[in-house]
């Protein structure tokens, strides 16, 4: 550690004379931002000192991303002021922000997959001599940066050929390369192994000493205790509290985040496991992302599927619904093997898949709620006869479902795009109610959903389960998975690492199986 610090001090990393702990780098006052149908932020205050790690904590959709996007110059706030080192500023673009020393590493990478690691690191600020690229300087700079970060990457490797974790490292290296005074890290450990994460934490310590201010988004409370100085909690676009990381307990943080006690958020589900509904039998995908996976879900139970991003958990749900080509093994629905699963065939067998990305795969945003909800069931006699729609019946049945799901505002003729995230998700879920469904596959059902809607969605799942539906819950939200599932599989690099039942289903047990075994041994 001390050696690393020494090397960091002498390395080419940012040296910012005069900026040490206690100096205010950034201050945001009364920041507000609206998006169509959503109030993403309202009146949020935030500040960052030199040499501190300030964690932003909150649920998906709480406004964290909006806030860091404003700080990183992606878009301006509607209201409020921003000062950088005491100077009022207005950021025009991410480029402008970078010039002022604000660099961000987002979850969505901004890398060019067809270029090499070193070309990506210097993209837009290439070393040149008389207008000609100075490739040796670029190569040298890249090596130094990677060494400083202790990332073991080939500078000449094409970024597209790297794993997600490696791409994450390139992204971090690129941000550091810009010699920032403010570094924004958005869930940087989401796709790192424990070992790589430890390297990152050591790096963060070194950067702090050099006087950088770091804004860090995470969902993992252990990380807060490990690296944070202060924590700002956001909920539904509003500032809940800014607290010193040292004096706040885990339960207190979670309560601040969700705005109520944990018991009130998650319903108690009465599990009555019955008939076998879905099974995968030694399933492998042609993409290689899932290997030899056997899982089963019975009627009347909620089965969780946990794992890191890229562990293959999402692909299993997609494969069952016919969205991923199957290499080996089989999918069975109620003991009947399905040779070529397809969305159509699965819907007819009573299987519904709720995709993780509503806008991408779930909704036809410019069409009204009514058309979106009935879309998967229009071929049924309730909704059409000989291809001619029965508009009145459609309206009646969709309004009934909207009422049951407590859609707000309760207007099924409104464009889906004008609803909030939580209500959009209800529309997607509502599709499962337009036809008889026995199996629900939920893939990240509460991303970008506010707490109120979350409670309603959980209640909906409880109701489905207790009425005898089989539910496969694929989720990266660990508390959600732990509280709702009666049984869970943990995925790791495309394989089932563990099956946890009842009391054995704990946060520690799940986390222990997230990472590489080698780390545990070490």
């Amino acid at each position: 550690m001390t050696a690393a610090q020494a090397s960091a001090q002498s390395g080419p990393a940012p040296s910012l004379p005069g900026e040490r702990g206690g100096v205010e780098l950034l201050r945001l006052s009364a920041i507000s931002k609206h998006f169509p149908g959503v109030r993403a932020l309202s009146g949020v205050d935030f500040d960052l000192q030199a040499g501190e790690v300030h964690v932003l904590f909150g649920e998906n959709g709480a406004g964290k991303s909006t806030l860091i996007n404003i700080i990183a110059g992606t878009f301006p706030p509607d209201d409020g002021t921003m000062t950088l080192r005491g100077q009022p500023i207005r950021l025009n673009s991410p480029h402008h922000a970078r010039q002022l020393g604000v660099n961000a590493v987002f979850q969505e990478f901004s890398l060019v997959p067809t270029l090499s690691v070193q070309d990506n690191l210097y993209l837009g600020r290439e070393h040149q001599r008389a207008g000609i690229l100075d490739k040796s300087a670029i190569a040298r700079g890249t090596r130094e940066t990677l060494e400083l970060l202790q990332f073991h990457l080939d500078p000449k490797a094409q970024v597209g050929s790297l794993s997600r974790a490696e791409q994450q490292m390139v992204e971090i290296a690129k941000a550091i390369q810009g010699e920032p005074s403010i570094l924004i890290l958005d869930e940087p450990t989401a796709s790192l192994t424990e070992n790589e994460a430890n390297n990152l934490f050591a790096l963060i310590e070194r950067l702090k000493i050099q006087g950088l201010g770091i804004i860090y988004i995470t969902h993992r409370i252990q990380e807060i205790h490990r690296i944070a100085d202060r924590v700002t909690v956001l909920r539904d676009g509003q500032l809940v509290a800014t607290v010193a990381a040292g004096d706040v307990s885990e339960t207190r943080l979670v309560e601040l985040m969700i705005g109520r006690s944990i018991e009130a958020l998650y319903p108690a589900i009465d599990y009555q496991p019955g008939r076998m509904m879905v099974r995968t039998d030694h399933l492998s995908l042609t993409s290689g992302r899932v290997h030899d996976v056997s899982i089963e879900v019975r009627a009347g139970e909620v089965v969780g599927l946990a794992g890191l991003v890229g562990s293959g958990k999402s692909e299993i749900g997609r494969a069952i619904f016919g969205l991923e080509p199957i290499g080996h093994g089989a999918v069975e629905i109620g003991d009947v093997p399905i040779v070529h699963p397809s969305p159509r065939g699965m819907l007819d067998r009573g299987v519904v898949y709720v995709p993780p990305d509503r806008r991408e795969e779930g909704l036809v945003a410019m069409r009204p709620v009514r058309e979106n909800m009935s879309l998967g069931a229009l071929g049924l006699p309730t909704f059409s006869r000989f291809g001619v729609l029965r508009r009145r019946l459609e309206g009646v049945s969709v309004r009934e479902i909207a009422r049951r799901l407590n859609l707000r505002p309760l207007n099924v003729e409104r464009q889906v795009a004008s609803f909030s995230g939580g209500n959009q998700q209800k529309v997607v879920l509502g599709r499962g109610l337009t036809r008889e469904v026995k199996v629900f596959i939920f893939d990240e059902p509460t991303t970008g959903v506010d707490v109120g809607a979350k409670v309603e969605i959980y209640g909906f799942m409880k109701e489905l389960c207790e009425r005898g539906a089989a539910i496969l819950l694929i989720s990266s939200d660990l508390p959600e998975l732990l509280h709702l599932a009666s049984r869970a599989y943990v995925m790791h690099r495309g394989e089932i690492r563990a099956e946890l039942v009842g009391d054995a289903l704990t946060e520690e047990a799940v986390l222990a199986n997230f990472f590489d075994r080698a780390v545990d041994a070490a």
């Binding site: 969305p343 159509r344 779930g362 909704l363 945003a365 410019m366 069409r367 058309e371 229009l378 291809g387």
Partner: protein
């Protein structure tokens, strides 16, 4: 229809500008343009609003309306069709050739020869539609390349098939009755156009096919995940579009009394312009058939008016191009203003 959507979409908080925006975002700019064009030409040239000219405008507009119906369907599904002009040309020469050959062999079989000719023409439409649809839906060729390629295939074929000269010798039943005849004072092509409009509006608003069309154009992945056979539906849209273009081609052939290998060249651009001016989005998933029909009427009024005030046809082409680009810009603005 328009007023109903208006009620739902007026923003709760709004000064006059919010109301203007709301009206604009629902009905678009077309009604305003129509009124402006009519007033402008009426002031410039009194012959414009003579009864004869009004009938003339309606008859002229029928061909474009029929083609625009198909174009609008393809646009709503998220594609577009540049081959409608070639379909018209090939339909024209093939139906004329079949009809005249059959008629020459059987001078008594006037009705049969007309049926043979029309069937041959519609068959051409079917083939083009299937090729376009298969290319786009099955082999994932972009609609732009697929239909541009077929446009070249079609116009090349029409010239090759006829050696570049018009095909004549069709029976009077076709050229006189269908081409220029009237039923209850209404020109026969206008009746065809009205029937086509009603059929397409019914398809789009009252059937699962229509609903799937909007879903596919709006979000193809969501449609697929909802169990809709996206490929088959996409292909069927191109088939329907080509069939409508073939119908227009047959009616035009009857009107000009000969099979013309150069017929229809202006239709791809004009039909896309008409649909977009009428509020159909180039990005798919949005637009109403009645808007596209009014758009086609607007384009026809514009060309008719420009003819009457003696604007050269070259300048008219410039005008159509400018209107297309403006319509797309307005479409974008409308999207931004809606939020």
């Amino acid at each position: 229809m328009v007023t109903k959507r208006l009620e739902g979409e007026i923003a709760p908080s709004g000064g006059p500008s919010a109301v203007v925006r709301s009206v604009f975002s629902t009905v678009g700019i077309l009604p305003l343009l129509l009124v402006l064009a009519i007033v402008f030409f009426a002031v410039q040239e009194p012959r414009f609003y003579a009864a004869a000219n009004i009938t003339n405008v309606f008859r002229q507009s029928t061909y474009l309306i029929i083609v625009t119906l198909g174009q609008a369907l393809v646009l709503i599904s998220g594609g577009f069709d540049l081959s409608v002009g070639a379909v018209i040309a090939v339909t024209s020469v093939v139906s004329a050739r079949f009809m005249s050959r059959y008629y020459a062999g059987n001078p008594d079989g006037e009705v049969t020869s007309v049926i043979v000719g029309i069937a041959a023409g519609l068959f051409v439409g079917l083939v083009f539609g299937l090729v376009n649809g298969t290319g786009v839906a099955r082999f994932k060729v972009s609609p732009f390349i697929m239909t541009l390629g077929m446009a070249s295939v079609g116009s090349g074929f029409a010239l090759y098939y006829t050696g570049g000269s018009p095909v004549s010798g069709m029976p009077p039943l076709f050229t006189r009755e269908i081409g220029t005849g009237r039923v209850f004072e209404v020109p026969i092509p206008v009746l065809f156009a009205i029937a086509a409009i009603i059929a397409v509006i019914f398809l789009v608003s009252a059937t699962t096919w229509g609903r799937y069309l909007y879903a596919i154009g709006g979000n193809m992945k969501a449609a697929f995940l909802s169990g809709i056979p996206v490929g088959a539906y996409t292909a069927s849209v191109y088939v329907l579009c080509s069939l409508l273009a073939a119908l227009a081609g047959i009616l035009l052939t009857a009107r000009v009394s000969s099979g013309e290998p150069n017929l229809g060249a202006s239709f791809p651009l004009q039909s896309i312009t008409a649909a977009v001016v009428g509020g159909v989005s180039l990005r798919g998933g949005e637009g109403r058939i009645i808007g596209a029909v009014l758009g086609a009427l607007f384009i026809t009024i514009l060309t008719n008016g420009m003819n009457l005030i003696r604007i050269e046809s070259y300048v008219q082409e410039i005008a159509i191009g400018v209107i297309l680009i403006l319509a797309v810009i307005i479409d974008r603005l409308r999207d931004r203003w809606r939020v």
